[in-house]
């Protein structure tokens, strides 16, 4: 809290508040437009199925988060505007009162100077002032001085409490606005639940198993893990008049790893294997895919002592899908295989484009 001419004066810049209110109002408008656009965009006629369900659910969740947030910003903008108006009005009124007081102070100082000058000019006139006020210059100066002092006292007595009241009202308004701001800050959007990541576009299947066994005197462990991400499943029927052929094909990527270690009368046997592929794969076929679609990074390790482990994981980022599968088994001495696969979804889409041709090839193979 500042002071002007001895009066309490509210701190703050109304223009800054107005500017902040304007920015919040603009922000709310942008958010409302985005929210409306999302709500409109998720209504896609002609798209049905599970992925459309994921899409619309996520879109609704996003729009639902944004709507109340924009409303909170609108309220905050409105409160800031009110506070700016009150602050500006209070500052204007107190400045006017301060101007009155400062003018009275100037008159008081001028009257004091005039009185000093009169007393200097008539050092023996003090008694005359007492006996005949107003009958001499000194008497008039004395009276003017007393009036100026009285006027200044009256103005101060009148405006000091009024200024304090205005400042107190503004302090309360400031507190209310700050409270609204805190509420709006708390209603800032968090991540919407259910928003799909690139992963959710794929049908994912993972499997991992590991265990020990003892059969016919052979003791061993085995482990396997696999992961499959299917982008699209295709189905085609061919009818040549004499027979009908149905072919199922998938577009996606998969990886699997397995390891086995056995020790028995025949000695120690170790084995590990794995594969990964990406592209379009049709039943009874090989694969048709672009080598650039995925990168395979295998690694092996040696193990000592019994143990088995297997697992599969998948992650996605802006660069694509990343698979990891590992399997390891050891009876006494064993080994493990770890496959890391990076898949480019764009390559998968290209493979998807080729998939119908793959099916035609299968049809040719089938005769």
């Amino acid at each position: 809290m500042g002071t002007r001419a001895g009066l309490a004066y509210p701190e703050g810049n109304p223009a800054a508040l107005t500017a902040s209110a304007g920015r919040l109002s603009d922000l709310a408008a942008r958010i409302e437009r985005a929210s409306a656009s999302i709500a409109e965009s998720i209504r896609v006629s002609g798209w049905e199925g599970h992925r459309y369900g994921v899409f619309t659910t996520a879109g609704r969740a996003l729009a639902d988060v944004l709507g109340p947030g924009a409303a909170a910003l609108r309220r905050t903008s409105s409160e800031l505007t009110e506070l700016a108006t009150e602050l500006k009005d209070a500052q204007r009124r107190i400045e006017a009162w301060a101007d009155e007081i400062e003018a009275a102070q100037r008159r008081f100082r001028a009257a004091g100077s005039a009185l000093n000058a009169a007393m200097f000019a008539n050092p023996l006139g003090a008694g005359a002032v007492t006996s005949s006020p107003g009958s001499s210059g000194l008497g008039r100066a004395q009276a003017a001085y007393e009036r100026a002092a009285s006027e200044l006292d009256e103005l101060r007595a009148h405006y000091l409490p009024k200024a304090r009241q205005l400042c107190e009202r503004l302090r309360q308004e400031d507190e209310r606005t700050a409270s609204t701001l805190r509420t709006a800050a708390a209603s800032a959007p968090k991540a919407a639940s259910g928003a799909p990541s690139p992963l959710s576009f794929f049908d994912l299947n993972t499997d991992a198993s590991a265990g020990f066994g003892n059969r016919d005197g052979t003791f061993g462990g085995s482990a396997s893990a696999s992961i499959e991400a299917i982008l699209a499943r295709l189905h085609k029927e061919f009818d040549d008049g004499a027979s009908t052929t149905e072919i199922e094909a998938t577009v996606g990527a998969n990886a699997e790893a397995s390891a086995k270690a056995e020790v028995g009368p025949g000695g120690l046997h170790l084995g590990a294997g794995g594969q990964a592929q990406a592209g379009a794969k049709a039943e009874l076929s090989g694969t048709l895919g672009d080598e650039g679609t995925f990168a395979l990074k295998p690694s092996i390790d040696g193990r000592l002592g019994p143990g088995v482990e297997a697992g599969a994981s998948i992650d996605a980022d802006g660069k694509g899908l990343h698979f990891g599968v590992h399997a390891g088994a050891s009876a006494v001495i064993g080994g493990g295989l770890h496959l890391e696969v990076d898949v480019d979804p764009g390559g998968l889409l290209d493979a998807a484009r080729e998939a119908p041709r793959t099916i035609e090839k299968i049809k040719d193979i089938l005769g």
Binding site: S37, E48, R51, L349
Partner: protein, 85 residues
């Protein structure tokens, strides 16, 4: 049943990507206290910063999610367009 109209789906994806971009742009200007030219009022001024920080972070997250949803729709359109051709 699984069906898709690639053109409409791609249009939805484009609109969502644009809406996500709009939110990310809004996140960049979500600080209501910056550049106002001076202090507001003491208590309000202190909370304007917190408000801006919370909304900047939240809008950035949501903007990325909306853009991701747009890419999801575009991916769907491309997949069905190519696979169904």
């Amino acid at each position: 049943m699984i069906a898709n109209d690639p053109a409409q789906t791609r249009s939805a994806g484009s609109r969502l990507t644009a809406a996500g971009g709009e939110l990310l742009y809004a996140a960049g200007g979500a600080n209501p206290g910056s550049g106002a030219g001076g202090d507001a009022t003491p208590r309000t001024d202190a909370t304007l910063g917190a408000l801006g920080s919370a909304w900047t972070s939240g809008l950035r997250t949501l903007g990325e999610q909306v853009e991701a949803l747009g890419r999801y729709a575009n991916l769907a359109a491309t997949a069905y367009e190519r696979a169904g051709g």
